[in-house]
Amino acid sequence: MLSPTTDTDPIIRFDRVNKSFGDLDVLKGLSFEIGAGERVTLIGPSGSGKTTILRLLMTLELVTPVKDPDDNGGVIWVEGKPYSHMEKGGKLHVASERYLRQRRQKVGMVFQQFNLFPNMKVLRNVTEAQVHTLKRSKEEAESKARELLDLVGLSDKVDNYPNQLSGGQQQRVAIARALAMDPDILLLDEVTSALDPELVADVLGVLRDVADTTNITMLIVTHEMGFARDVSNRVMMFDQGVIVEEDTPDKIFSDPQEVRTQDFLRAVLAE
Protein backbone atom coordinates (compact mmCIF):
# COMPACT_ATOMS: atom_id res chain seq x y z
CA MET A 1 0.00 0.00 0.00
CA LEU A 2 1.24 3.48 -0.78
CA SER A 3 2.16 5.73 2.11
CA PRO A 4 0.36 9.05 2.26
CA THR A 5 2.52 12.18 2.21
CA THR A 6 2.52 13.97 5.54
CA ASP A 7 4.64 16.63 7.21
CA THR A 8 6.05 14.07 9.58
CA ASP A 9 7.44 11.89 6.79
CA PRO A 10 11.19 11.38 6.94
CA ILE A 11 13.06 13.07 4.10
CA ILE A 12 14.68 9.74 3.16
CA ARG A 13 13.20 6.33 3.74
CA PHE A 14 14.71 3.05 2.62
CA ASP A 15 12.03 0.37 2.71
CA ARG A 16 13.55 -3.11 2.49
CA VAL A 17 15.89 -2.04 -0.29
CA ASN A 18 17.93 -4.64 -2.17
CA LYS A 19 20.91 -4.04 -4.37
CA SER A 20 22.88 -6.77 -6.09
CA PHE A 21 25.76 -6.61 -8.52
CA GLY A 22 25.56 -9.92 -10.37
CA ASP A 23 25.71 -12.62 -7.71
CA LEU A 24 26.91 -10.20 -5.05
CA ASP A 25 24.14 -8.96 -2.75
CA VAL A 26 25.37 -5.63 -1.42
CA LEU A 27 22.18 -4.52 0.30
CA LYS A 28 19.73 -7.06 1.65
CA GLY A 29 16.33 -5.67 2.58
CA LEU A 30 17.83 -2.52 4.09
CA SER A 31 15.44 -0.22 5.93
CA PHE A 32 16.16 3.09 7.63
CA GLU A 33 14.81 6.60 7.86
CA ILE A 34 16.48 9.98 7.91
CA GLY A 35 14.75 13.14 9.11
CA ALA A 36 14.94 16.49 7.33
CA GLY A 37 18.04 18.43 8.33
CA GLU A 38 19.65 15.40 9.94
CA ARG A 39 23.38 14.74 9.45
CA VAL A 40 24.04 11.05 9.31
CA THR A 41 27.45 9.43 8.97
CA LEU A 42 27.71 5.95 7.52
CA ILE A 43 30.71 3.99 8.71
CA GLY A 44 31.83 0.45 8.16
CA PRO A 45 34.45 -1.64 6.37
CA SER A 46 34.81 -1.36 2.60
CA GLY A 47 32.23 -3.39 0.74
CA SER A 48 29.69 -2.89 3.49
CA GLY A 49 27.33 -0.98 1.18
CA LYS A 50 27.82 2.62 2.41
CA THR A 51 28.76 4.11 -0.93
CA THR A 52 26.06 2.05 -2.67
CA ILE A 53 23.46 3.78 -0.48
CA LEU A 54 24.70 7.20 -1.62
CA ARG A 55 24.86 6.08 -5.26
CA LEU A 56 21.29 4.77 -5.07
CA LEU A 57 20.16 8.13 -3.70
CA MET A 58 21.99 9.91 -6.53
CA THR A 59 20.40 7.45 -9.00
CA LEU A 60 23.86 6.43 -10.24
CA GLU A 61 22.71 2.90 -9.37
CA LEU A 62 19.19 1.57 -9.50
CA VAL A 63 17.66 -0.64 -6.82
CA THR A 64 17.33 -4.33 -7.63
CA PRO A 65 13.62 -4.68 -8.43
CA VAL A 66 11.43 -6.68 -6.10
CA LYS A 67 8.17 -8.37 -7.16
CA ASP A 68 5.12 -6.40 -6.10
CA PRO A 69 6.87 -3.45 -4.41
CA ASP A 70 3.58 -2.21 -2.91
CA ASP A 71 3.63 -5.18 -0.55
CA ASN A 72 7.25 -6.28 -0.52
CA GLY A 73 9.08 -2.95 -0.43
CA GLY A 74 12.42 -2.60 -2.14
CA VAL A 75 11.61 1.10 -2.58
CA ILE A 76 13.43 4.31 -1.70
CA TRP A 77 11.19 7.21 -0.64
CA VAL A 78 12.31 10.83 -0.65
CA GLU A 79 10.27 13.69 0.75
CA GLY A 80 7.31 11.35 1.23
CA LYS A 81 7.13 10.28 -2.39
CA PRO A 82 8.49 7.17 -4.10
CA TYR A 83 11.96 7.90 -5.50
CA SER A 84 13.37 4.68 -6.93
CA HIS A 85 9.88 3.88 -8.17
CA MET A 86 6.98 5.87 -9.52
CA GLU A 87 3.26 5.58 -9.06
CA LYS A 88 1.27 4.51 -12.07
CA GLY A 89 -2.33 3.40 -11.85
CA GLY A 90 -2.14 3.35 -8.04
CA LYS A 91 0.78 0.94 -8.11
CA LEU A 92 4.53 1.31 -7.82
CA HIS A 93 6.69 0.70 -10.87
CA VAL A 94 10.43 1.04 -11.39
CA ALA A 95 11.11 4.74 -12.13
CA SER A 96 11.76 5.90 -15.67
CA GLU A 97 14.79 8.08 -16.48
CA ARG A 98 12.42 11.01 -16.98
CA TYR A 99 10.96 10.55 -13.50
CA LEU A 100 14.41 10.17 -11.95
CA ARG A 101 15.56 13.36 -13.63
CA GLN A 102 12.66 15.21 -12.11
CA ARG A 103 13.22 13.75 -8.63
CA ARG A 104 17.01 13.91 -8.34
CA GLN A 105 16.94 17.69 -8.73
CA LYS A 106 16.98 18.20 -4.96
CA VAL A 107 19.83 15.78 -4.30
CA GLY A 108 23.48 16.76 -4.66
CA MET A 109 26.66 14.74 -4.38
CA VAL A 110 30.34 15.39 -3.77
CA PHE A 111 32.61 12.62 -5.00
CA GLN A 112 35.83 11.13 -3.71
CA GLN A 113 37.62 12.00 -6.99
CA PHE A 114 36.05 15.50 -7.22
CA ASN A 115 34.94 14.89 -10.84
CA LEU A 116 35.18 18.53 -11.84
CA PHE A 117 34.80 19.07 -15.57
CA PRO A 118 38.36 19.66 -16.84
CA ASN A 119 37.09 21.43 -19.97
CA MET A 120 35.46 24.19 -17.92
CA LYS A 121 37.06 26.87 -15.82
CA VAL A 122 36.17 26.94 -12.13
CA LEU A 123 33.38 29.51 -12.53
CA ARG A 124 31.78 27.60 -15.38
CA ASN A 125 31.98 24.35 -13.41
CA VAL A 126 29.75 26.01 -10.81
CA THR A 127 27.41 27.87 -13.19
CA GLU A 128 26.82 25.40 -16.02
CA ALA A 129 24.28 23.15 -14.31
CA GLN A 130 22.47 26.12 -12.78
CA VAL A 131 21.96 27.55 -16.26
CA HIS A 132 21.13 24.30 -18.03
CA THR A 133 19.14 22.38 -15.48
CA LEU A 134 17.78 25.01 -13.08
CA LYS A 135 17.26 27.47 -15.97
CA ARG A 136 18.79 30.34 -14.03
CA SER A 137 20.03 33.35 -15.98
CA LYS A 138 23.78 33.52 -16.58
CA GLU A 139 24.08 36.57 -14.30
CA GLU A 140 22.12 34.92 -11.50
CA ALA A 141 24.17 31.71 -11.80
CA GLU A 142 27.46 33.63 -11.78
CA SER A 143 26.47 35.68 -8.78
CA LYS A 144 25.52 32.49 -6.89
CA ALA A 145 28.76 30.79 -8.01
CA ARG A 146 30.94 33.70 -6.89
CA GLU A 147 29.19 33.78 -3.52
CA LEU A 148 29.81 30.05 -3.00
CA LEU A 149 33.38 30.17 -4.29
CA ASP A 150 33.98 32.95 -1.79
CA LEU A 151 32.51 30.72 0.94
CA VAL A 152 34.94 27.92 0.05
CA GLY A 153 37.84 30.40 -0.15
CA LEU A 154 38.46 30.22 -3.87
CA SER A 155 37.15 33.50 -5.20
CA ASP A 156 40.56 34.18 -6.76
CA LYS A 157 40.46 30.94 -8.79
CA VAL A 158 37.36 31.53 -10.90
CA ASP A 159 39.39 31.77 -14.11
CA ASN A 160 41.57 28.72 -13.48
CA TYR A 161 41.04 25.32 -14.97
CA PRO A 162 40.57 22.46 -12.47
CA ASN A 163 43.95 20.93 -13.33
CA GLN A 164 45.61 24.16 -12.25
CA LEU A 165 44.29 23.61 -8.71
CA SER A 166 45.40 21.29 -5.94
CA GLY A 167 43.20 18.37 -4.87
CA GLY A 168 41.91 20.27 -1.85
CA GLN A 169 40.97 23.26 -3.95
CA GLN A 170 39.27 21.04 -6.53
CA GLN A 171 37.21 19.38 -3.83
CA ARG A 172 36.16 22.77 -2.46
CA VAL A 173 35.04 23.78 -5.95
CA ALA A 174 33.09 20.51 -6.15
CA ILE A 175 31.36 21.38 -2.86
CA ALA A 176 30.48 24.83 -4.22
CA ARG A 177 29.20 23.21 -7.42
CA ALA A 178 26.92 20.87 -5.48
CA LEU A 179 25.65 23.66 -3.21
CA ALA A 180 24.89 25.90 -6.19
CA MET A 181 22.03 23.56 -7.07
CA ASP A 182 20.32 24.32 -3.72
CA PRO A 183 20.03 20.67 -2.72
CA ASP A 184 17.81 19.54 0.13
CA ILE A 185 19.99 16.46 0.49
CA LEU A 186 23.78 16.46 0.14
CA LEU A 187 25.67 13.20 -0.26
CA LEU A 188 29.36 13.22 0.65
CA ASP A 189 31.22 10.15 -0.55
CA GLU A 190 34.63 9.89 1.13
CA VAL A 191 35.35 13.45 0.10
CA THR A 192 38.77 13.58 1.75
CA SER A 193 40.04 10.09 0.90
CA ALA A 194 41.87 11.19 -2.26
CA LEU A 195 43.56 14.17 -0.59
CA ASP A 196 46.99 14.60 0.89
CA PRO A 197 46.71 14.77 4.68
CA GLU A 198 47.59 18.46 4.88
CA LEU A 199 44.71 19.38 2.55
CA VAL A 200 42.00 17.47 4.45
CA ALA A 201 41.44 20.10 7.15
CA ASP A 202 40.42 22.84 4.71
CA VAL A 203 37.83 20.66 2.99
CA LEU A 204 36.40 19.52 6.31
CA GLY A 205 36.44 23.16 7.48
CA VAL A 206 34.25 24.13 4.53
CA LEU A 207 31.85 21.27 5.24
CA ARG A 208 31.65 22.26 8.89
CA ASP A 209 30.70 25.77 7.74
CA VAL A 210 28.02 24.31 5.49
CA ALA A 211 26.68 22.13 8.29
CA ASP A 212 26.63 25.10 10.69
CA THR A 213 24.99 27.58 8.36
CA THR A 214 22.42 25.51 6.42
CA ASN A 215 19.75 22.95 7.19
CA ILE A 216 20.68 20.63 4.32
CA THR A 217 20.22 16.97 5.13
CA MET A 218 23.64 15.35 4.86
CA LEU A 219 24.61 11.74 4.36
CA ILE A 220 28.30 11.33 4.92
CA VAL A 221 30.53 8.38 4.16
CA THR A 222 33.90 9.04 5.75
CA HIS A 223 36.81 7.58 7.63
CA GLU A 224 37.40 10.93 9.35
CA MET A 225 35.97 10.00 12.72
CA GLY A 226 36.65 13.39 14.29
CA PHE A 227 34.65 15.08 11.57
CA ALA A 228 31.84 12.52 11.90
CA ARG A 229 31.71 13.15 15.63
CA ASP A 230 31.59 16.94 15.19
CA VAL A 231 29.11 17.20 12.37
CA SER A 232 26.67 14.32 12.58
CA ASN A 233 23.58 13.75 14.70
CA ARG A 234 23.67 10.04 14.11
CA VAL A 235 26.18 7.40 13.07
CA MET A 236 25.17 4.17 11.39
CA MET A 237 27.61 1.28 11.40
CA PHE A 238 27.24 -1.00 8.37
CA ASP A 239 28.59 -4.42 7.68
CA GLN A 240 27.66 -6.70 4.78
CA GLY A 241 24.77 -4.52 3.71
CA VAL A 242 22.97 -4.31 7.03
CA ILE A 243 23.01 -1.79 9.88
CA VAL A 244 24.95 -3.34 12.72
CA GLU A 245 24.44 -0.49 15.15
CA GLU A 246 23.25 3.11 15.11
CA ASP A 247 23.37 5.83 17.70
CA THR A 248 24.62 9.32 18.44
CA PRO A 249 28.27 9.87 17.59
CA ASP A 250 29.16 10.18 21.26
CA LYS A 251 27.65 6.79 22.07
CA ILE A 252 29.05 5.03 19.01
CA PHE A 253 32.58 6.37 19.38
CA SER A 254 32.89 6.15 23.16
CA ASP A 255 30.73 3.14 23.94
CA PRO A 256 30.07 0.93 20.91
CA GLN A 257 27.88 -2.04 21.79
CA GLU A 258 28.58 -4.41 18.93
CA VAL A 259 31.82 -6.33 18.55
CA ARG A 260 31.97 -5.52 14.82
CA THR A 261 31.71 -1.79 15.57
CA GLN A 262 34.40 -2.08 18.23
CA ASP A 263 36.71 -3.95 15.84
CA PHE A 264 36.09 -1.48 13.03
CA LEU A 265 36.71 1.60 15.16
CA ARG A 266 39.85 0.07 16.62
CA ALA A 267 41.15 -0.62 13.10
CA VAL A 268 40.29 2.87 11.81
CA LEU A 269 41.67 4.73 14.79
CA ALA A 270 44.89 2.71 14.66
CA GLU A 271 45.53 3.95 11.07
Binding site: M58, G108, A129, Y161, S166, D196, L199
Partner: protein, 253 residues
Protein backbone atom coordinates in the same frame (compact mmCIF):
# COMPACT_ATOMS: atom_id res chain seq x y z
CA UNK B 1 65.28 13.24 -68.15
CA UNK B 2 64.08 16.51 -69.61
CA UNK B 3 63.41 18.71 -66.59
CA UNK B 4 62.76 21.82 -68.66
CA UNK B 5 59.64 20.14 -70.13
CA UNK B 6 58.53 19.26 -66.63
CA UNK B 7 59.06 22.85 -65.42
CA UNK B 8 57.12 24.11 -68.41
CA UNK B 9 54.28 21.76 -67.51
CA UNK B 10 54.03 22.94 -63.88
CA UNK B 11 51.36 25.65 -64.45
CA UNK B 12 49.20 22.91 -65.92
CA UNK B 13 49.13 21.25 -62.47
CA UNK B 14 47.20 24.19 -60.97
CA UNK B 15 43.76 22.95 -61.95
CA UNK B 16 44.37 19.28 -61.04
CA UNK B 17 45.84 20.48 -57.74
CA UNK B 18 42.61 22.32 -57.04
CA UNK B 19 40.70 19.10 -57.75
CA UNK B 20 42.91 17.13 -55.32
CA UNK B 21 42.41 19.81 -52.67
CA UNK B 22 38.66 19.89 -53.30
CA UNK B 23 38.33 16.11 -53.05
CA UNK B 24 40.45 16.00 -49.88
CA UNK B 25 38.74 18.90 -48.14
CA UNK B 26 35.20 17.88 -49.04
CA UNK B 27 35.79 14.19 -48.28
CA UNK B 28 37.49 15.05 -44.96
CA UNK B 29 34.61 17.30 -43.90
CA UNK B 30 32.04 14.68 -44.83
CA UNK B 31 34.15 11.93 -43.25
CA UNK B 32 34.17 13.89 -39.99
CA UNK B 33 30.38 14.06 -40.02
CA UNK B 34 30.18 10.33 -40.83
CA UNK B 35 32.76 9.56 -38.11
CA UNK B 36 30.79 11.43 -35.44
CA UNK B 37 27.46 9.98 -36.54
CA UNK B 38 28.79 6.41 -36.58
CA UNK B 39 30.97 6.95 -33.49
CA UNK B 40 28.01 8.21 -31.45
CA UNK B 41 25.75 5.50 -32.84
CA UNK B 42 28.21 2.71 -32.00
CA UNK B 43 28.56 4.21 -28.48
CA UNK B 44 24.80 4.11 -27.95
CA UNK B 45 23.37 1.91 -25.22
CA UNK B 46 20.39 1.16 -27.50
CA UNK B 47 20.90 -2.00 -29.52
CA UNK B 48 18.67 -0.80 -32.39
CA UNK B 49 20.99 2.16 -32.91
CA UNK B 50 24.26 0.38 -32.22
CA UNK B 51 23.82 -2.76 -34.35
CA UNK B 52 23.17 -1.20 -37.79
CA UNK B 53 25.97 1.34 -37.21
CA UNK B 54 28.36 -1.43 -36.19
CA UNK B 55 27.36 -3.53 -39.23
CA UNK B 56 27.92 -0.58 -41.56
CA UNK B 57 31.35 0.17 -40.07
CA UNK B 58 32.43 -3.46 -40.43
CA UNK B 59 31.10 -3.68 -43.98
CA UNK B 60 33.03 -0.60 -45.06
CA UNK B 61 36.19 -1.57 -43.18
CA UNK B 62 36.02 -5.09 -44.52
CA UNK B 63 36.00 -4.12 -48.19
CA UNK B 64 38.48 -2.38 -50.44
CA UNK B 65 38.27 1.37 -50.97
CA UNK B 66 39.00 0.86 -54.68
CA UNK B 67 36.08 -1.54 -54.99
CA UNK B 68 33.85 0.91 -53.13
CA UNK B 69 34.94 3.68 -55.45
CA UNK B 70 34.11 1.63 -58.54
CA UNK B 71 30.87 0.46 -56.93
CA UNK B 72 29.73 4.02 -56.29
CA UNK B 73 30.85 5.12 -59.77
CA UNK B 74 29.56 2.27 -61.88
CA UNK B 75 27.47 -0.27 -59.95
CA UNK B 76 25.23 2.09 -57.98
CA UNK B 77 23.87 3.90 -61.04
CA UNK B 78 22.79 0.54 -62.49
CA UNK B 79 21.55 -1.11 -59.27
CA UNK B 80 19.87 1.83 -57.56
CA UNK B 81 19.38 4.18 -60.45
CA UNK B 82 21.31 6.89 -58.64
CA UNK B 83 23.49 8.89 -60.95
CA UNK B 84 25.58 11.78 -59.69
CA UNK B 85 25.93 14.72 -62.03
CA UNK B 86 29.52 15.25 -61.03
CA UNK B 87 31.96 12.37 -60.90
CA UNK B 88 33.88 14.26 -58.21
CA UNK B 89 30.93 13.74 -55.83
CA UNK B 90 31.26 9.98 -56.30
CA UNK B 91 34.90 10.18 -55.26
CA UNK B 92 34.11 12.41 -52.30
CA UNK B 93 31.30 10.17 -51.02
CA UNK B 94 33.25 6.94 -51.42
CA UNK B 95 36.31 8.31 -49.64
CA UNK B 96 34.21 9.99 -46.94
CA UNK B 97 32.30 6.81 -46.13
CA UNK B 98 35.48 4.76 -46.04
CA UNK B 99 37.54 7.10 -43.87
CA UNK B 100 34.47 8.12 -41.87
CA UNK B 101 33.91 4.46 -40.94
CA UNK B 102 37.55 4.06 -39.87
CA UNK B 103 37.53 7.35 -37.97
CA UNK B 104 34.28 6.45 -36.19
CA UNK B 105 36.36 4.02 -34.14
CA UNK B 106 38.53 6.95 -33.05
CA UNK B 107 35.41 8.88 -32.01
CA UNK B 108 33.98 5.87 -30.20
CA UNK B 109 37.26 5.15 -28.43
CA UNK B 110 37.70 8.76 -27.30
CA UNK B 111 34.13 8.89 -25.98
CA UNK B 112 34.66 5.62 -24.12
CA UNK B 113 37.90 6.99 -22.64
CA UNK B 114 36.16 9.89 -20.85
CA UNK B 115 36.24 8.83 -17.18
CA UNK B 116 32.99 7.38 -15.82
CA UNK B 117 33.16 9.86 -12.94
CA UNK B 118 32.57 12.70 -15.39
CA UNK B 119 29.26 11.19 -16.45
CA UNK B 120 28.32 10.53 -12.85
CA UNK B 121 29.01 14.14 -11.92
CA UNK B 122 26.90 15.22 -14.89
CA UNK B 123 24.08 12.96 -13.68
CA UNK B 124 24.41 14.39 -10.17
CA UNK B 125 23.96 17.84 -11.71
CA UNK B 126 20.91 16.53 -13.55
CA UNK B 127 22.11 17.10 -17.11
CA UNK B 128 20.13 15.40 -19.87
CA UNK B 129 21.86 12.78 -22.02
CA UNK B 130 22.27 15.36 -24.79
CA UNK B 131 23.70 17.96 -22.39
CA UNK B 132 26.14 15.39 -20.98
CA UNK B 133 27.39 14.67 -24.48
CA UNK B 134 27.54 18.30 -25.62
CA UNK B 135 28.90 19.92 -22.47
CA UNK B 136 31.01 17.23 -20.86
CA UNK B 137 31.88 14.22 -23.02
CA UNK B 138 32.60 15.62 -26.49
CA UNK B 139 34.67 18.64 -25.34
CA UNK B 140 36.89 16.23 -23.40
CA UNK B 141 37.00 13.55 -26.08
CA UNK B 142 37.75 15.96 -28.96
CA UNK B 143 41.41 16.74 -28.09
CA UNK B 144 42.05 13.00 -27.77
CA UNK B 145 40.67 12.37 -31.25
CA UNK B 146 42.70 14.98 -33.12
CA UNK B 147 46.05 13.13 -33.56
CA UNK B 148 44.33 10.03 -34.95
CA UNK B 149 41.97 12.08 -37.09
CA UNK B 150 45.04 13.89 -38.42
CA UNK B 151 46.54 10.57 -39.52
CA UNK B 152 43.29 9.63 -41.25
CA UNK B 153 43.13 13.03 -42.99
CA UNK B 154 46.63 12.48 -44.38
CA UNK B 155 45.72 8.94 -45.43
CA UNK B 156 42.63 10.33 -47.11
CA UNK B 157 44.75 12.87 -49.01
CA UNK B 158 46.94 10.07 -50.31
CA UNK B 159 43.93 7.90 -51.10
CA UNK B 160 42.45 10.78 -53.07
CA UNK B 161 44.86 9.66 -55.82
CA UNK B 162 42.49 6.72 -56.36
CA UNK B 163 39.81 9.02 -57.76
CA UNK B 164 41.96 9.26 -60.89
CA UNK B 165 40.83 5.67 -61.54
CA UNK B 166 37.26 6.81 -62.11
CA UNK B 167 38.38 9.54 -64.47
CA UNK B 168 38.65 12.52 -62.14
CA UNK B 169 41.45 14.83 -63.27
CA UNK B 170 43.39 15.22 -60.05
CA UNK B 171 47.19 15.55 -59.88
CA UNK B 172 47.77 11.81 -60.16
CA UNK B 173 45.57 11.66 -63.24
CA UNK B 174 47.44 14.63 -64.68
CA UNK B 175 50.91 13.21 -63.95
CA UNK B 176 49.87 9.92 -65.47
CA UNK B 177 48.55 11.66 -68.56
CA UNK B 178 51.60 13.84 -69.06
CA UNK B 179 54.07 11.09 -68.23
CA UNK B 180 52.37 8.72 -70.66
CA UNK B 181 52.74 10.99 -73.66
CA UNK B 182 55.10 9.87 -76.42
CA UNK B 183 58.67 10.84 -75.67
CA UNK B 184 57.87 11.63 -72.01
CA UNK B 185 59.11 9.73 -68.97
CA UNK B 186 56.60 9.28 -66.12
CA UNK B 187 59.37 9.63 -63.51
CA UNK B 188 59.70 13.44 -63.35
CA UNK B 189 55.92 13.87 -63.24
CA UNK B 190 55.61 11.32 -60.46
CA UNK B 191 58.35 13.20 -58.60
CA UNK B 192 56.38 16.44 -58.97
CA UNK B 193 53.22 14.95 -57.45
CA UNK B 194 55.25 13.22 -54.75
CA UNK B 195 56.44 16.66 -53.63
CA UNK B 196 52.93 18.11 -53.93
CA UNK B 197 51.43 15.30 -51.79
CA UNK B 198 54.18 15.76 -49.23
CA UNK B 199 53.58 19.52 -48.99
CA UNK B 200 49.81 19.02 -48.69
CA UNK B 201 50.30 16.38 -45.99
CA UNK B 202 52.64 18.73 -44.14
CA UNK B 203 50.00 21.48 -44.31
CA UNK B 204 47.36 19.12 -42.88
CA UNK B 205 49.74 18.03 -40.16
CA UNK B 206 50.57 21.65 -39.24
CA UNK B 207 46.90 22.62 -39.20
CA UNK B 208 46.03 19.66 -37.01
CA UNK B 209 48.86 20.49 -34.58
CA UNK B 210 47.42 23.98 -34.24
CA UNK B 211 43.95 22.55 -33.72
CA UNK B 212 45.23 20.08 -31.15
CA UNK B 213 46.95 22.82 -29.23
CA UNK B 214 43.79 24.94 -29.28
CA UNK B 215 41.73 21.97 -28.12
CA UNK B 216 44.16 21.20 -25.31
CA UNK B 217 44.01 24.79 -24.15
CA UNK B 218 40.25 24.42 -23.93
CA UNK B 219 40.69 21.66 -21.37
CA UNK B 220 43.32 23.58 -19.45
CA UNK B 221 46.36 21.76 -20.86
CA UNK B 222 47.92 24.89 -22.32
CA UNK B 223 51.55 25.47 -23.21
CA UNK B 224 53.54 27.23 -20.46
CA UNK B 225 53.80 30.49 -22.39
CA UNK B 226 50.01 30.69 -22.43
CA UNK B 227 49.96 30.48 -18.66
CA UNK B 228 52.28 33.37 -18.00
CA UNK B 229 49.38 35.82 -18.03
CA UNK B 230 48.15 34.27 -14.79
CA UNK B 231 50.65 34.96 -12.00
CA UNK B 232 49.32 32.07 -9.89
CA UNK B 233 49.19 29.54 -12.68
CA UNK B 234 52.81 28.42 -12.37
CA UNK B 235 52.39 27.80 -8.67
CA UNK B 236 50.42 24.58 -8.79
CA UNK B 237 49.60 22.08 -6.08
CA UNK B 238 50.43 22.68 -2.48
CA UNK B 239 51.93 26.11 -3.01
CA UNK B 240 48.67 27.47 -4.35
CA UNK B 241 46.82 25.61 -1.63
CA UNK B 242 48.69 27.39 1.13
CA UNK B 243 48.07 30.85 -0.24
CA UNK B 244 44.36 30.26 -0.80
CA UNK B 245 43.96 28.57 2.56
CA UNK B 246 45.06 31.76 4.23
CA UNK B 247 42.60 33.66 2.13
CA UNK B 248 39.74 31.32 2.92
CA UNK B 249 40.24 31.71 6.62
CA UNK B 250 40.15 35.45 6.16
CA UNK B 251 37.06 35.24 3.96
CA UNK B 252 34.91 33.03 6.14
CA UNK B 253 35.35 35.02 9.32
Amino acid sequence: MDWSTVIDSLPGYAEPLLVTIQVTVMASALALVVAFALGLATSSKHLVVRTPARAFVELIRGSSVVVQLFWFAYAMPILLGIQFNFQILVGVIALALNYGAYSSEVVRGAIAAVPKGQLEAATALNFTTFQKMRLVVLPQAWPEMIPSLCSFAIMLLKASALVSMIGIADITFWADTLGGRPGQSPLPHLTVILVIYFVLAWLIWTGMRWLENKAKQSVGVAKPRKLKADPNADALGGVVEKSSTTQRRGGVK
